[in-house]
Each structure stands twice: as C-alpha cells, then as structure tokens.
Symmetry: C3
Subunit: 265 residues, 3 copies
C-alpha cells in the first residue's frame, strides 16, 4: 500500500466537491487558523463545545476533531460526549494530544479519551506520542536508536492497542497503523515557528478522513498536503508571519501539478 | 431612501473621528479578526463577557454586538445581561445568529435574545435568517421563488415582529426594515473562504450604528464597506490568506475615491 | 545604567539559544498572535488556564505572563494559583492590566493580583498604569504637566510599593523601576491599529525576563525589540493587516544590524 500524487489529489477533489462538515472541539489559540485552513482546502469547519449542543453538532458532522490544547473541565466533558456520539455514528474521530506529558491533567485526559472512544487517528509530535504511550508501551528504551524510532515504536503500540492510525509529525512524518507504516517527507524548517500548524495538521486529518474511509491513506494524504503547502508557502515567505498567510493561500491554490512537483515520500 | 458613496463615506469619517467603543460578546474564532477590522475602520473594540463586568462595559459602549458562534451557558447569561443594559441605555444592539438552525441550542438562544431585547440589527446569511424566523413566519414557502426571496420574506417578518433591521448577506446583501429594502452588490467570491467575515460584517454594523441613528442606512453602509474592502483586497490576493490581510489593509485605506470606484447598489 | 544595541541583541540571542518556556494565561483575542510573536523571537509559548494544571505548567516555565483582557472568575482563580507557584519558584511574573479602569472587576482583579504576588514587570499604556495606581498614588495631580508625566509618577509609585518594574508603552516607552527610568523611542504610529500589540509587548517581557535577571533592562530590551520590529514592519506595510504579518516576520529576522540601524533611546 502506498500513496502518490494522484491518490492525494483525489481526496482533495472530494473535499472540494463535498465540503465535509468538520466539527472541532479545539483550543483557543488555533480556532481561527484551523478554521481558515479547513475552508482553504474546501471543507466546512464548525467550532462548538457547549454540552447542550455538542451531540447535535457531531450528529451532522462528517468528522470530529478533538484537540486538548487549552483544556478545562467543562470542555473535557463536552469532548467525551461528542466522541461518544461520533462513535455511535461511526464517523472518524481525530485526537490531538497537545502537550501530553507536560501536565498530568493533559496526559490523563488524552488517555481517557482514547480509551473511552478509540479514535480513527491520533496526531502528535514524537514526544507527545511517546508520552501518550509510556505506560502501555513495552518495546521502548534500548531497542530504539533515536527519538524517531522510539516514537514509531510508541505509535505501533498505540495502533495495536486501539486499532487506530497514529500520525507522528516532524521532519519526516510517520503514519502508523497496525499493518502499515507510511512516510511523508514534505514540510519546511520554518513551519514550527508558526503556532498551531500541528493543530492544523490534525484538523486536515478530519477533512481527509471524512472523505476517505482508508484511514491510514487519509492521514498520509493530509500530511502530504500540509507539507506541500508549507513548502509552497516558504518559497516567498520572509518569516513565519508571511509563511502562515502563504500557507493558507497554498491550500486554496493546491493543484495536482503542485502535488506532483513537491510530493516526497 | 437610498445610500450612496457620499453617505457611506460620511459614516466612515464619523467612525474615524469619534472612534466609538463597540462592546463585543462574540465567538472565540473571530475575536482577533473582528477586533482588527473594527480598529482598521477606526472604531474601538472591546471584548468582555464576564457577568461581573458586562453591564459596566456595555454602560460605556456606543454599541453592543452579540455573536452566538461559540456559545455556552455562562456566556448566554452575560449576553442577556449586557443586552438589557444596552436596551436601557438605548444604544444599538446587533445580533449575529451564527449557526442558527444547526442546533436547537443556537436557535433557542438567538430567538430568546431577540425577544427579550429586540435588537437594532440582525445580521446573518440567508439560511440563518430563515431558520431564525421559521416559527413566526407566515409567508414563506410557495410564495418564494428562490432561497434569496425566502430569506427576504423571513427578514421582513422579523423586521415587522421586532421593529428591527435585518441584514442578509450573500452574493447580494439585502438590508430589510419594516418600510425599506436596500441592496448592496459588492463583495467577492473568495470572501466565504475566510473564516468569520460574516462576523466581521456584524461587528462593522456595530460601528456604523454607533455613529448613525438611521439604522437601515448604517447597516447598508457597513455592508457596502465590507464588500468594497473585499473587492479591493481581492485585486492582489493569492488566496484567502492574503485576502484576509489585504481586507484589513483596505478597511484602513478606504477613501471616498475607493467607495466611488467600487460601490454597487 | 543604560541599554544599547549590543545589550538588546545579547538577550535576543539568549532567547533564541535557550527557547525559554513562557506560560501565558492571557485573553482570547491575542492568544494566537502572542504565541506567534513568542515563537518568532525564539521563545516557547504555552497557554494553559485550567485549575488542575496551571501550577504544574508554571512549574516548568521560565516566566509567567498574566493578561486580564477577557477575564472570568474561573480564569482569575487560575491566575492567582499560577502566580503563587511562580512566586515560590522565583520565576518572573509579568502582568498586563488590560482595560483597568474600564470596569471595577478589572481594576479590583489587577490590584489584588499585584498585591498577592508582586510581579517583576507590569506593562500597560499610560491610562492603565494611572488607573492601577490611583488609590495608592500620592504625587499625582498638580505636580504633573502631561498625561505621560502623570503615568510616570503613577509608575514610580507602583514601582516603590511593589518593588517591580513598570513599563508604560506609548509614543515613548518608559521603563520605571525604584531606582531607574529608561526610555525607548522606537515604534510606529500604525501599531495601535493592530489588536493586541500591547499584549504582545507584555508577552515579550516574559521571554526577555526569562533570560535576563536585570528586570528593568529585560523590559527595556523587550520594548526596543517591539518598536524596532514595528518600524521594520511599517516600511512595506499597506495597513494594519500587512503590518501584523510583517511584524512577525521582523521578529524572526531581527539581527544586530537591524537593532543598530533602528534603536532609539
């Protein structure tokens, strides 16, 4: 199994044609920028977190994205409620365990969410994926020769345990499922200087998983689009301010030709 | 009654001269971008939602903008409290019923707000205005030949019932009051790809209503300025990222010459 | 004691080398833009406000930034808790009393915070600093010949009372400690048209105070960097939209040469 420029663009076209509603329960920092990224790629974002309405909103969505970046108790309750509804409806749940490992509150919440309603995709950086796994993981430590390897081992353990796809983003993105390991080598060194591009990657996973039932490919396609748009953006960026603006423009402009030119696996 | 380049610019100048304080109780997604739009046109935005301070903040404002985009119970309570204070002080209340119809929570809240303290202006897209009206509206259905017509009928019903101005934004903007129907034909097809430009339209209604007691004209002026700034922005935009940046620049640059060049009614 | 291009750039280099974690409990409007500014200068921003995690987050941070721009009771409780932890750990606390004087809620909260855990730096505009001081200040009134002078007197009173540095930003920035008064004359007239640049100035104080224990210099360096990046940004800005984008780019690009070219004290 593999992905290529044509499989990536097929999903982009489906998103643009069907404009799937992506329900985000996400953090305050990135609400605006992730909504803009979803719009630019052709999806329909909605943000809603109130207990009286989350189930109804998830009930009309094509995917649910949960991001724990600025948690509080009321929001956690809403996350569980929405995730339960998404599981009932069998729509993809995407979880972004922002800052897992930094506080027990985040670690506990992310783990409980994943246990209660195993997601389709978990998207995080290497240290988040390792922190998420730590207690469950058996193979880490001496077996691993680098942080990336350790994270891939952790991702494999999570994928086995929860039957989900785990997406580790970094210089190389690893998309890990129980059976498969995909790599995407797109992206640009300036991207980590823009706040919330990781959260945007997660949100895009929602849009792609809403139109593509092969979850590992959907996640890999989303990562490829992120990285390609980042590289397109970097061509004329003067810094992270213009990179962010160009990135949104690039998602909007993205054609099969761009994907063919930039895609690296 | 009509509006023209000179009546539009007169309001812009008043805003720039008096910098009216616009109190926003709005959604998390657009707080930053609507504050920037209000500043760029010359108004003074303030965001405040805590029960212990909303009345005091509304007490010094020139207009109150209520946007239900990311509702929760505590915020709803603050919205009612602030709206009551605004009604006592007879300053314009502008309501943006974001996502009305998507969940009962939003529909109920928006209707209750409008009934408790009839606003000066309601600003929404066609489907929001129709969803807001549904139960009250008598004339919809077979009488209407298009979505726009249906929305205008719904707007008329709301305008009659609450004595308010209803602003339907879309390809053509309709500004409906009990006696008048104004149209603004400015805007650009890329604008819906920027999150929260509808919310920005609502916030600008606040600034214009703060300086112009003829509410229907104030709303129409605000819509004209939105659309014109959008068209100015689109001239060099490469996508919705640069459109958003250019849009803020255009609000700031906006001169009578620009308005004369672009305004279409 | 004074600051110069070389002392400013030394701190910038330290930030870039050590990427201090700046814990922000700040307002919804500016979370995204202040996070981006902190990243662009080389720091690591984190936003966290939940009672169950604030202490743990402050426990790993290099500085704590508290901004009362969109207060509510739950957030106030978190601010006190985080500030207590920061005081125990002796890491710098930076307070931005946004809108103090506009409502009693803000005035009371800001004063109580400052009394409970005297901060390293208070950063506000002239009227905020005066409103914050009012009850304590003895020397204001006839002694002062202008709003700036009054604000400097208020700042001196606060600095004496709480042993902190007070940063008044405006056309000229005044950095006031018990013993010293520094001035920074950088900045651009278009900056107040971008929402939250004051909050960004406060956040940058956090980054600079995290790497420089001479708090008054750290604050002055942060103000110089703000103003210089603003002037660099203004060279090609078409309005506040592009100014904001260029400003982030400029923080990222900022070199000793830029500082030498632009710095004015």
């Amino acid at each position: 199994m593999t992905i290529n420029a044509s499989s990536i663009f097929k999903d982009v076209e489906k998103i643009r044609k069907t404009a799937p509603l992506v329900h985000n329960i996400t953090n305050y920092v990135v609400m605006n920028t992730t909504a803009n990224a979803l719009l630019a790629i052709g999806a329909s974002p909605v943000m809603a977190h109130a207990l009286p309405e989350v189930e109804e909103m998830t009930g009309i969505a094509g995917a649910l994205v949960i991001n724990i970046g600025t948690l509080s108790d009321a929001w956690i309750e809403a996350m569980f409620k929405a995730a339960k509804k998404a599981a009932q409806r069998k729509i993809p749940i995407i979880i972004d365990p922002v800052g897992v490992g930094a506080t027990q509150y985040r670690t506990r919440t992310a783990r409980q969410l994943i246990q209660a309603t195993p997601p389709s995709i978990i998207r995080g950086n290497g240290s988040e994926i390792m922190a998420l796994c730590q207690q469950d993981q058996k193979t880490k430590g001496v077996d691993s020769t680098s942080a990336s390897d350790q994270a891939v081992d952790a991702a494999k353990a999570l994928a086995r345990e929860y039957g989900c796809v785990v997406c580790i983003t970094g210089k190389i993105d690893y998309i890990v499922s129980q059976e498969t390991l995909l790599q995407v080598k797109n992206g640009h060194a300036m991207m980590p200087y823009v706040t919330g591009l990781g959260c945007t990657a997660t949100a895009l996973c929602g849009a792609f998983a809403a139109v593509n039932p092969e979850v590992d490919k959907a996640a890999a396609h989303a990562m490829a689009v992120m990285g390609i748009a980042g590289e397109m953006a970097a061509r004329t960026a003067q810094g992270p301010g213009s990179l962010q603006v160009n990135f949104i423009d690039s998602l909007y402009q993205l054609s099969q030709t761009h994907i063919k030119e930039f895609f690296k696996a």
